[in-house]
Amino acid sequence: MRQTEHMSIEYGTQSLLDLITRRNPDDAAWRDLRRRLDAMSDAELTDLYYRLRDACQVSEQGLVYPNIQNLHATPFEREKDRREQRPLVEQDSLSEVARWYREARDKSCVWWLENHVIARHALSSCMNCGACTALCPAAEFNEFNPRAIMSLVQEKDETAIVELLKSDTIWFCHQCGSCKTKCPRQNSPFGMISSLRQLSQLKGYHVQSIRGRQQYFARHFWGGNLWNRACTLYFRNPDPERHKDFGPRFAAYFRAKEEYLRRIGAQPDMEGHLSGRKVAPETLEELRKLWTAGGAVYFWSLIEEAAARQAAQAGMTIDEYHNHVMSEG
C-alpha cells in the first residue's frame, strides 16, 4: 500500500493515544485510563474518536481507514458509546418501543410472559413430552433442560420464575431451534428462552449469575460492532490469542489478513460493499436511528446500568468489570 496522501490529525500526546487505544492495559494502566477518560468531556471524547476513525489514506485499491483497527474493542470506544447513547435514552424522550419496555420493567414476570410477543408465540399448552430436550445440544452437555423451563413458565409462579432469571440456567441454550422442529404442539422452547433472557436483563436479574453477567461483554462486543460498524462482527475480532483452539493455520492467516482479504476481492477497512468494508456515515446514521426507535439503545442502557451498579459494589472500574465478566466461568 503506497502512502500518497496522509491526513494528519492533532491528537493529544502520543502517550494518551497509546493509552486509549490499548485493548488490554495492565492493572495499573486500567485505573490511569479510567481517570483520563473520566476527565474528557462528552464532546471531546466523541470528537476525538470520529476524527481518528475518519482519518483516511489513499492507496492503490482505494481509500483506507487505518485507525479503525486501533479503535475497535477498546475501553475508549466503549466509553464513547456510553456517552453518545446516554442522551438518546433520556427518560422523557424515550422512543415508543423503549417506553413499552420501560413500563414492562415495573410489571410482573408473568405479565411479561403473557404480553411479550415472542413469549406469546413460544408457548401454549406444553405437555412435557420431552421431545425438545431429547435432542437439545445444551441439554447433552450442561445442566439444562428446555422442557423443565417450559414447564416452570407454564406454572406462572412469579417467585420461581424470578429465581430462574437469576440463575445460569437460561444462558446455556444454543438458540439452534432443534426444539421448535420437534414440538408436537408447535411451541418453541428456544423462543421462550430468548424472551426470558430479555426479561432477565430488563429487570437486572442477569447480573446474579456468571453467564448472565457475560451480557455486559455481549452488549459491547456485538452492540459496539453494530453501533460503530453496522455489523455484529468485525474481521479483526477473532484474535488468535483468544481463539487458540482455531490452531496455528488460523493464526498465520490472521497475521496477514488484510492482504488475504484484498487478494480475494474483499475490502478491509475500505469503502465498498463487500466484507470488512467501512460503513458509510449516512448508512450508520440511519441504522442508529432505527435502533433507537426499536428500543435497542434503551435496552443497552439497562445492561449498562446494572453493570455499573455491580462494578461499584465490587469496587471495580467499569473497564475492570468488563474484563472480568468476559473471562469468568
Binding site: 456485538w222 455489523c231 462482527l233 474481521f235 493455520r249 480475494i264 463487500l274
Partner: protein, 343 residues
C-alpha cells in the same frame, strides 16, 4: 455402506418442494463469512454473473448494507423491534433495487427473515407499528417479501446449469469412485420453518445433498447428521463458553468417522467456522484425528469450476487443509500461492 432405502429417502424429501425464484436476487452479506471466509462471499456475484442472473446488492452510501442484527437478537442484546426494523430496511433496499427476492449468504439472516416475516404476518398491530416507525425514521416502506430464498437455495435451483460449467466432478480421480460427502445444514435454514422454507423439509433436507448428487458425489447419512454444530451464538463467541461448541463438533465428527467421508459441505457460515476450526483443538485435546475438509457450497462450486483455489476460492482461510481434497479430485494448484509454508 449405509443400510438405507434410497427410494424411501427420495420420496420423503420430495414432499417438500420449495418455490425458489429463478432470478432477481438482492444479495445481503454475512458477518461471519465476511470475517472468516470472505472468498465465499466474493464468489457469489461471480457465479450469478456466470449464470447470467439478474442481481443487485447494496453499495451506495445511503443504501449501505448492515447486517441483520440476528446475532445480536439471538445473543439477547436486541429487542425484536430493533431487529424487525433493521430487516425491514434491508427488505426496502431490495425493493428499491427492483429485486423481488432477498437472498442472504448467512443462514442466521435467512432464519431471521423467516421469523420476521411470520411475526409481521401474524401480528397486525406489530406490523402497523414497524411500518410506521420505518417510515417516520428513515422514510422507507415496509414490504413483506412473498418468497424467501437463501443463496444456497439459488445454487440448488441452478445446480444443473452450474454443473454444465464445471471442469471437475465430485469423483476420486484415481478410481472413479464418487466422493462420500457429509452435508451439514445450518439449523436456522432447516429447523425453524421446515415446511415453508427448507428444500426437502428438516429431516432429509436436500439443499446441499441435491447439489452433491448432481455434482457427482454420494450422500452420507450418519447418526448425528441433524445435530447442531454447537455454534450457539453466545456459546461460541463468549470465550469461557466455547467448550459447549467444541463438544458438539466433536460429537458429530466422531459419529461420521466410521462412514469415512471425504469432505463436509456447509451452507451456514457459523457451522463452517466451527466444523472447520475446532478440528485442530479436538485433535490437541483428545488425540483423535479427523481433519476432514469442511468447505462451503460456494467454495465447492468454485473448485469444481476450476477457479484458482488460493486467489479466488481462498482455501488458505481454512484450518483443515483443503489441498488433500483437491488432490483426490485431481484439481491442480500452485502451492507457491499458499501463504502457509508448512504442508
Amino acid at each position: 455402506m449405509n443400510p438405507y432405502h434410497l427410494a424411501g429417502r427420495e420420496s420423503t424429501w420430495q414432499k417438500h418442494i420449495k418455490d425458489i425464484p429463478v432470478d432477481n436476487y438482492f444479495l445481503t452479506l454475512s458477518c461471519i463469512l465476511g470475517s472468516f471466509y470472505p472468498a465465499s462471499e466474493t464468489m457469489v456475484p461471480k457465479v450469478f454473473d456466470l449464470l447470467g442472473l439478474r442481481w443487485a446488492t447494496t453499495h451506495t452510501s445511503h443504501n449501505g448494507w448492515s447486517c441483520c442484527t440476528a446475532i445480536g437478537y439471538h445473543g439477547d442484546i436486541m429487542p425484536i423491534e430493533a431487529t424487525l426494523l433493521t430487516v425491514a430496511r434491508l427488505w426496502a433496499l431490495a425493493q428499491e433495487a427492483g429485486m423481488e427476492v432477498i437472498t442472504p449468504t448467512c443462514v442466521t439472516s435467512f432464519g431471521t427473515y423467516c421469523e420476521c416475516q411470520e411475526l409481521l404476518e401474524q401480528e397486525p398491530e406489530l406490523r402497523g407499528r414497524i411500518a410506521r416507525l420505518l417510515k417516520d425514521t428513515c422514510g422507507r416502506k415496509l414490504v413483506i417479501p412473498r418468497r424467501l430464498a437463501h443463496v444456497s437455495d439459488v445454487y440448488y435451483q441452478h445446480r444443473e446449469r452450474l454443473a454444465g460449467h464445471f471442469q471437475y466432478r465430485l469423483i476420486e480421480a484415481a478410481t472413479g469412485r464418487p466422493l462420500r460427502v457429509v452435508d451439514h445444514i445450518g439449523c436456522h435454514y432447516a429447523k425453524l420453518f421446515p415446511q415453508r422454507h427448507a428444500v426437502g423439509g428438516s429431516e432429509y433436507c436436500d439443499v446441499l445433498a441435491g447439489m452433491v448428487r448432481t455434482w457427482g458425489g454420494e450422500n452420507v447419512d450418519y447418526p448425528e447428521r441433524r445435530h447442531c454444530c454447537g455454534m450457539g451464538f453466545r456459546q461460541c463467541m463468549i470465550p469461557p463458553n466455547r467448550g459447549a461448541t467444541m463438544a458438539s463438533v466433536h460429537k458429530k465428527l466422531k459419529s461420521m468417522a466410521p462412514f469415512k467421508p471425504d469432505l463436509i459441505v456447509t451452507n451456514c457460515p457459523g457451522c463452517q467456522v466451527f466444523m472447520d476450526k475446532e478440528q485442530w483443538a479436538v485433535h490437541e485435546m483428545t488425540g483423535e484425528k479427523y481433519f476432514i475438509p469442511v468447505i462451503t457450497y460456494q467454495e465447492l462450486a468454485g473448485i469444481l469450476l476450476g477457479w484458482d483455489p488460493y486467489e479466488v476460492v481462498g482455501i488458505d482461510f481454512h484450518t483443515v487443509p483443503v489441498e488433500p481434497l483437491l488432490d483426490k479430485i485431481g484439481i491442480p494448484y500452485d502451492r507457491e500461492k499458499s501463504w502457509h509454508r508448512e504442508p
